[in-house]
Point group: C2
Amino acid sequence: MTLANRLLSLLKLGVMLSLLGVTAAAQAADPLPSWNDGKTKQSIISFVDKTTREGSPEFVPSEQRIATFDNDGTLWAEQPIYFQLLYAIDKVKEMAPQHPEWKQKEPFASIIRGDTKKALEGGKPALMQLLAATHTGMTGEEFQQSVKKWLAKARHPETNKSYTEMVYQPMLELLSYLRANGFKTFIVSGGGIDFLRAFAGKTYGIPPEQVVGSSLKAKYEMRDGKPVIVKLPEVNLIDDKAGKPVGIYQHIGRRPIFAAGNSDGDFEMLQWTTAGDGPRFGLLVHHTDGNREWAYDHPSHVGQLDKALKTAPKEGWTVVDMKNDWKVIFPWGNRQGASGR
Amino acid sequence: MTLANRLLSLLKLGVMLSLLGVTAAAQAADPLPSWNDGKTKQSIISFVDKTTREGSPEFVPSEQRIATFDNDGTLWAEQPIYFQLLYAIDKVKEMAPQHPEWKQKEPFASIIRGDTKKALEGGKPALMQLLAATHTGMTGEEFQQSVKKWLAKARHPETNKSYTEMVYQPMLELLSYLRANGFKTFIVSGGGIDFLRAFAGKTYGIPPEQVVGSSLKAKYEMRDGKPVIVKLPEVNLIDDKAGKPVGIYQHIGRRPIFAAGNSDGDFEMLQWTTAGDGPRFGLLVHHTDGNREWAYDHPSHVGQLDKALKTAPKEGWTVVDMKNDWKVIFPWGNRQGASGR
């Protein structure tokens, strides 16, 4: 190799490296790398830009940048059934030896026999009995420990991943992107507030005080000489549908400017959020990918998305088409690549 | 002046300036300038130091540094009577022309005649009627506007200051000091959550989502084609006594490590807070200064401090003796120096 050639090679290498550098920088600058380029991603980025850029006519002061997210079907999966219900079912099985009377009593008898479908045929009363048995009577701290223990061991029946791995990578990026731009992110879920608080910090970077959910009443009492909070079998708030704006009002005390959901249970949250003055953003995660995730929301027994989907164009809500808008679904890949049980 | 003298003078000036500089720096370094030096101030500073200094055996991670403050009698005054009650009374007078029936109906009739004492003789039922008439039926946003408007105009009957000026300067410093050290500060008050949220941001630097208080139920509905939250005449939570730990649990989702109050209504909040593992701090503001503020809390019809005061030594709670621990009471001075009406 002559000196000239050698120099030429070095020059080529330099050009290549600088090209690589540019690419890396462009990727680093992409705040939503798991989102395909297109209208959906662009609408999110322009909303964040116009509400946070100093001098923008639609600038929103940082303290008003409240963003609320539904959980089931929006931040993590909800198939084959709400994960919190799977917790209650596992808990009944674990508690069964201490409750011989359950062998004669529905919905417990069916669950113990492994027939979840039959157990749930009892509808709302059966569900309330399940909740009362597995979510009340203990202290708040005991309940949190029990949920954490379960989450550490339990595996999703199809993907064999832990439930806290069943989160949507593009939504994790969205949460980080909003926070990096001065938004305060909240969960506003129909799920139980104490259940959510057991993992929202580690999984989503959302502290307990920024979790709103359905709740039971609680009381303060002394147990073994120590003051504790005890969970009571009485509903405090059903944080679903019209209960979501109420939950937001009670907990957060102001109207969000950004709300994300995936079902008709989120309709009122998006409606209230986007009816406010100034720039507003409503986002619906539409479950359209039957291979990489599940295509189920229209119609569906969980996470039905109908009224909200029809309303979206009129209200200017952004609909995320999971199949076309997301490069990847879960942090570890997609459903069809999972190991299975 | 010889050159030598001149140099000597300059040197002296330099020494003086540097002394002044040292003094200024020492003052700037005092995070609680309105607190007299002594045991009380020192106990606060050592708690903050040991929980926040890296490498300290009692270090507490920032996200667990939750500090809760009562409001009436802890952050602002509560004499001659809770300010929120004065709002309700003024509001009844303002609304009276639209309610001719009130002239025949207690507690309204007495209020309209200017006899507040008689109106309040009706006890809790009278109070609930007052609250229902002045705190419900409107939207949350309308209520906030009404409170803000009132706060901008109303004046304290004795000091002639606005109510948001009736705050304790040493406590404002304490809030700032804790926040500067990574604590998240919350209000946990028996007062109404919506009332508090109307001024807590500007007055204390505490955003609506960090305010816990007594609350009414609310519902979501359409008014004039717009979705709103309407305040209902039904109690949701009485955030006082054993209701305070419950309110903290529901809203914040974890036990504070620091709690400040001033009355037996704060007993359970301090008890629950300081019963937790690791370093804990309980603080009681004791109203001992009849000249600069009011000496009233033992015994008293508002803000009674008895059980908590007796328990303080055993539990290691710090009692603030307002007369001896505080250099100044209000940001503008002290009660005896106020202009009066």
